[in-house]
């Protein structure tokens, strides 16, 4: 199935759209994940992260579009694709009446592992996830943080090529958050990891590449460093001025706080995009600059829903406790 050129593409999603009702939960989502990469989905709650992950893992098919995982179509060749995936769903659903070790044994059997291999891997993952003292404990009696570890343990038990984790650090205490991130980074050295989060610093810390998803669409895709640079960026204003562009342009640039001005002509209208340092409202200064030169100010508006606005909706600081 895998072609020569796509050999290092582990997950390829094209044109994913999913409807729960009339409104699409995700719309035309496209992305690729390379083998061994750690990719983060960043977006506010309800942006479509969980929907996307459920489609990748084969839990539900997309209304439209297609995902291949290691060359297998997750709908048409679901079984082969599912063999390659380890999945940690957001709420970490576990059989609360089972003991940790017997739960892991059960999940191992479902993944088609040999009994000997299961036994060996259970002791390994119990070590890795630091569940040592709890392997005989009933899951229902574990705290949220430990249940999270059991969830990770079952996801990595069968050494899947792809690890999909939906909000892996939500609702656990700060010390465990740090441990969990470290663990994910270690896992990412051998495996392809896709994780979602609504916490910006977390994604920047763990991931090599970030997709920002908002209202069901991917609005940006970059490395964490580049995104951070764009974030320090700027607010944008759109100004329409009746006057000679050759003079208007430098005049706008002279306004204090303006970082960049670009000009374009659109249907005989002179439009300027003015970038200003973030947090500054320069509408007053700009209108003065235009009018004092004797030009007419035809339009002045802030550009709606930029990447920065979406970022503002994200948790930009760590929640404490």
């Amino acid at each position: 199935m895998t072609t020569e050129a796509n050999d290092d593409v582990m997950i390829q999603a094209s044109g994913l759209t999913h409807y729960y009702g009339p409104q699409p939960a995700i719309e035309d989502v496209n992305f690729k994940v390379k083998r061994g990469e750690i990719l983060g989905f960043l977006g506010p709650n309800g942006a479509g992260k969980t929907t996307t992950m459920r489609i990748i893992t084969g839990f539900m098919p997309p209304s439209q579009g297609k995902v291949t995982l290691g060359g297998y179509d997750v709908v048409e060749q679901s079984l082969q694709a599912r063999r390659k995936v380890g999945y940690l769903p957001e709420t970490v659903p576990l059989y609360t009446e089972m003991a940790v070790a017997s739960y892991l044994r059960y999940m191992g059997t479902l993944r088609g592992m040999e009994p000997k291999r299961i036994k060996q891997r259970i002791s390994e993952v119990i070590d890795v996830c630091r569940l040592g003292d709890y392997h005989k404990t009933i899951i229902g009696k574990l705290s949220k943080g430990f249940r999270q570890r059991v969830g990770i343990a079952q996801a990595i038990l069968h050494e899947p090529e792809v690890l999909v984790m939906d909000e892996p650090t939500i609702g656990i205490d700060p010390i465990q958050v740090v441990e969990t991130r470290k663990l994910i980074q270690d896992l990412g050295k051998q495996q392809t990891v896709v994780l979602s989060s609504h916490i910006l610093p977390e994604v920047s810390m763990i991931c090599e590449r970030v997709l920002i998803i908002h209202q069901g669409r991917i609005v940006a895709e970059d490395t964490p460093d580049n995104l951070a640079q764009r974030l320090q960026g700027v607010d944008q204003l759109q100004v329409e001025v009746g006057g000679p562009p050759a003079e208007v342009l430098p005049a706008l640039k002279r306004v204090k706080g303006v970082t960049e001005v670009t000009h374009r002509r659109q249907q005989n209208r002179e439009i300027y995009s003015v970038k200003v340092q973030q947090g500054q409202d320069l509408r007053d200064e700009i209108s003065r600059a235009v009018i004092s030169n004797g030009w007419s100010l035809l339009n002045l508006q802030q550009v709606g829903m930029s990447l920065e606005d979406i970022f503002l909706r994200l948790t930009t600081q760590e929640e404490l406790g």
Binding site: F59, M60, L79, R82, P93, Y95, M107, T109, L110, G112
Partner: protein, 237 residues
């Protein structure tokens, strides 16, 4: 098949580690014991189990749904179905595994009643034919009842709904033949053939008719097939 076995084994452990199943077992023994004594209570008692069979089939209308209601509804409620269905497990393996577990529990419940015929053999001289055939009928009937319970449990995440709907369906199916007198002609034949009770009767009288065996097996297969389809369609909802 190994995964179906794993699913079955896990569910069997849940059954035997859970007070609910023991309560069901206890009620089953109490009710069937009561009907067994009715057999013996006559002034001229007959060494047979016909009342016991009648009582067992009626109480199973309630107990079979009680045994199966948890099996898939709970997975859907807790979300564990998300990990189950993203494992490389075929849908039929899930359904068959769960069904087998409930069947094992039912069989062990039925096995506990074997001391009724044992008592008869010790203290009287019963006709063995109806006793053997009756147990065969009871097992076939029980398997069909469980398959209906599996279907309703697949269709909802609410265990109460699963219980009520399958008990209702089972009740209707069981007594369908009594409606034969109300309607006539073709419908009477149909209703009579669909009714479980009319197919069970021969077993308790000592008659093993392949027609009846085929009936119960096809009911079981039909509802298990629907359950598998329902689980598949769950992915598309």
């Amino acid at each position: 098949m190994r995964t179906a076995q794993a699913v079955a084994w896990k569910e069997i452990q849940v059954y035997f580690g859970n007070p609910m199943a023991y309560i069901v077992g206890l009620i089953f023994l109490a009710v069937t014991g009561f009907f067994f004594v009715l057999d013996l209570g006559d002034p001229f008692p007959e060494a047979s189990l016909s009342n016991f069979y009648q009582g067992a089939t009626i109480i199973l209308i309630l107990l079979a749904p009680a045994l199966t209601m948890r099996l898939l509804a709970e997975e859907q409620k807790l979300g564990t179905i998300e990990l189950l269905l993203t494992s490389p497990v075929r849908d039929w393996e899930v359904i068959i595994g769960k069904y087998l577990a409930s069947l094992v529990f039912l069989l062990s419940m039925i096995m506990l009643t074997l001391y009724y015929p044992l008592l008869l053999f010790i203290f009287a001289d019963p006709d063995p034919g109806p006793i053997y055939s009756g147990y065969l009928g009871l097992i076939l009937y029980g398997s069909a009842a469980l398959s209906i319970g599996i279907l309703t449990s697949t269709l909802t995440s609410n265990q109460i709904v699963a219980f009520v709907v399958s008990a209702g369906v089972l009740l209707l199916l069981f007594f369908a033949n009594t409606g034969a007198g109300v309607v006539g002609g073709f419908w009477a034949t149909l209703v009579n053939e669909v009714g479980m009770n009319s197919h069970f009767g021969d077993f308790s009288r000592g008659v093993i008719d392949t027609k009846h065996i085929f009936y119960f097996l096809s009911v079981t297969a039909f509802f298990l097939f629907l359950s598998i389809r329902a689980l598949e369609s769950r992915r598309w909802r």
